[in-house]
């Protein structure tokens, strides 16, 4: 359906702008980008997207038919490169590897990544708008305490389970037992190699003529 991509873009734009509005660092980052336009061309699935920055966030628009002269930078990339880029790979490295083609103001790409993927949302201040300062702080403190307890409980549970599995039920060997087993196996391997060498020499002794056998060193 014709309106579906537009509908999806509208949803993405609204979500991103809502997140940016809650990031204390976003206004300063946006101020440096206001008025800039970035054209992103993704291969497979073929997608052209224009990002236009303004004071309150960004506009996402379909980029089909947009001339390169109408934008400040053009980026061409594959989905793999895109995932490398958002996971923090250096833009220079991606460009030198031939995975990323950028024309125009290259620093826009770095600034975009910083703006969208270094989001540090201040949930407590958002809650304070709805509930007031004190209740929001109490609620946020409660959530933080619950999160800390959750992390500690998870660590303790992992410790208990591993102790039970390795030490009490002995269902799996522990690290030390594995090391001992590996040492024994190595010794066995060396002994087997020596035995094999002796057998080979004995066999050569039995099959070779007596004069050459006298020159063999003693075992």
């Amino acid at each position: 359906m014709l309106v579906t991509p537009t509908l999806l873009l509208a949803g993405c734009e609204r979500t991103l702008n809502a997140l940016l509005a809650r990031d204390p660092a976003a206004p300063a980052r946006l101020a440096a980008l206001v008025g800039s336009r970035l054209l992103i061309r993704l291969e497979q699935p073929h997608l052209e997207l224009v990002i236009h920055y303004h004071h309150a966030g960004l506009d996402l628009m379909r980029g089909e038919g947009v001339d390169e002269t109408e934008v400040d930078a053009v980026v061409e990339l594959t989905p793999e490169t895109f995932s490398e880029w958002i996971s923090g790979a250096s833009i220079e490295r991606l460009m030198f590897d031939g995975k990323l083609a950028v024309r125009g103001r290259i620093h826009l790409l770095e600034a975009t990544r910083e703006l969208l993927f270094d989001l540090n949302i201040d949930w407590e201040s958002e809650l304070a708008r709805w509930l007031g300062d004190m209740p929001a702080h109490s609620l946020a403190e409660g959530v933080r305490r619950a999160a800390r307890w959750g992390l500690r409980a998870k660590d303790e549970l992992m410790q208990d389970v591993s102790e039970y599995v390795f030490e009490e039920a002995r269902l799996l060997p522990g690290q030390q037992q594995r090391n001992v087993l590996r040492d024994h196996l190595t010794e066995l391997e060396i002994a087997t190699d020596r035995l094999e060498a002796r057998f080979n020499r004995l066999q050569r002794k039995l099959t070779q003529p007596p004069q050459s056998a006298s020159q063999e060193p003693r075992l």
Partner: protein
């Protein structure tokens, strides 16, 4: 023509004297201005925002452009255009109706839009701008309320710069008979009731449904745009033809 033989035009399904239509349409919009946005969201289930987004995408507006948003009403398109044209560009929000213009101006000011937007109360048939003034003109859900559509299209073509584009977003004729039937039921039965409940004015929304039926279909409007001097006119049906987006270029 003798003074007794007054020329008439349609106002919904009624025939009214030509010089009376503008004031009747004005009454409709004075009545609904305060609840216009809420009703649009309710009536279209929010899809009108997607139709307007598509208009903006097709407009190809760039920083520095001069844009005229005719019948801009509550300023949905102007808000976005003002960001796209930047401080070097200019957007003119024009509407014949002072109430709608006031609601639009307040809404835009609340959204922090200022420097590059101007507000003009103007009749689309006689636009008060010099020739070749705008890079892009849009009229969204406004053309069907204009008394003399041909004159309005000619006026728009006049103020458009060579190479500029005119976009007309307007209700049209659904191309599927089943959808058409469901749409008729919706707009003649449900819509006036919703208008009654939310905006307290069922009659205005009955006019809306009737005026949509009286509006030229896709091909007729395309021919009208070509007759007004626009070239490369094309249209895109949205949501099964309930709405059509026409685009023409002045060469």
């Amino acid at each position: 023509m003798s003074p007794t033989e007054k020329r008439t035009t349609h106002f919904g399904y009624q025939e009214v004297p030509v010089d009376e239509k503008a004031s009747r349409v004005a009454d409709v919009f004075h009545s609904v201005a305060a609840r216009y946005d809420v009703m649009n969201d309710l009536m279209s289930m929010g899809i009108h925002r997607v139709w307007k987004r598509m208009t903006i995408e097709r407009a190809g507006v760039r920083p520095g452009h001069h844009v005229l948003d005719i019948a801009g009403g509550t300023g949905d398109l102007t808000l976005k255009f003002s960001r796209l044209v930047g401080p070097r560009g200019k957007v003119v929000l024009a509407d014949i109706n002072a109430s709608m213009l006031k609601v639009g101006r307040d809404k835009l000011m609340d959204n922090g839009v200022g420097g590059n937007v101007e507000y003009v109360q103007a009749n689309a048939e006689n636009l008060p701008f010099p020739d070749n003034s705008f890079d892009c003109i849009t009229i969204a859900f406004g053309l069907r309320n204009v008394t003399d559509k041909d004159a309005a299209l000619r006026s728009m073509a006049r103020v458009l710069k060579p190479g500029g584009r005119l976009l007309v977003l307007e209700f049209s004729k659904p191309n599927n008979p089943l959808l058409s039937k469901a749409y008729d039921e919706y707009s003649f039965r449900l819509l006036p009731k919703m208008g009654e409940l939310v905006a307290g004015d069922g009659e205005s929304y009955r006019y809306l449904a009737e005026s949509i039926r009286m509006h030229p279909d896709q091909e007729t409007l395309k021919a009208m745009m070509e007759a007004a001097g626009l070239e490369r006119v094309e249209y895109t049906n949205l949501t099964g033809g309930i709405v059509a987006l026409h685009r023409g270029i002045k060469l």
